[in-house]
Symmetry: C2
Subunit: 116 residues, 2 copies
Amino acid sequence: MPVELSASQALNLWHGVSLEQVRIDNRDLTLRQISILLHIYLVPPPHTVRGLAGILGVTKPVITRALDTMGDLGLVSRMRDERDKRNVIIKRTVNGALYLEKLGDLIIDQGRKLSI
Amino acid sequence: MPVELSASQALNLWHGVSLEQVRIDNRDLTLRQISILLHIYLVPPPHTVRGLAGILGVTKPVITRALDTMGDLGLVSRMRDERDKRNVIIKRTVNGALYLEKLGDLIIDQGRKLSI
DNA sequence: CAGGGTCGTTACGGAACCGTTACGTGATTC
DNA sequence: GAATCACGTAACGGTTCCGTAACGACCCTG
């Protein structure tokens, strides 16, 4: 069930959500961090540093740093893979789920406000 | 004509767009910068530094710096207000319009890919 | 069990952003 | 026309991010 948006609707939606997100969230995640967070929560696990780096087209340290930052914020956590101890498995957290739930509500609200 | 999204659709839309934007755009604008850019292009002028600062809930230097950065990228430009020379009027550019046009297309594409 | 390959992290110098403060210029008020 | 206010910017120290490179830990093959 695709969602058909006009150019005006698409940009107004993005505008409304970005604006509210800037106003509400003092944490100010970067676009990369948001991408990583959404990917972890929306795509079936397991998620590794290397895998995320490949998907986003960035280097591994970028992922490590983003996980450091979001880990401090309680949005994600990390565990060693016991089967292959070189790997790190990235796990979801309650806080992260709540954060994305709010973001989802925000998008839905802004979608309802659209016109034209 | 509001757009009704499910929670899953909303987050998947955001996910797809963020991911593509990270992969495509080496410039990596911050969420604040994107908000400012969208606001300038979607809301009728005139736009001033003070006005934008109030709308985004940030300090004036934040706006000045964002305009510096995006000005270097050719996405916006600035002109003195001749009627009140204390003011600076923020103007749109061809490059900025193109940038947002691509962003709009990206959002529309991702909307079409949604399911459930 | 030695060697090479893979994993994530750390170290490093550089760049960009932050908030606060101070400043220069222009408008306004008395 | 002097004092005051408004506007945008520059300067400051601090924080965070970047990309490259090097590192330790781990797996696997011969």
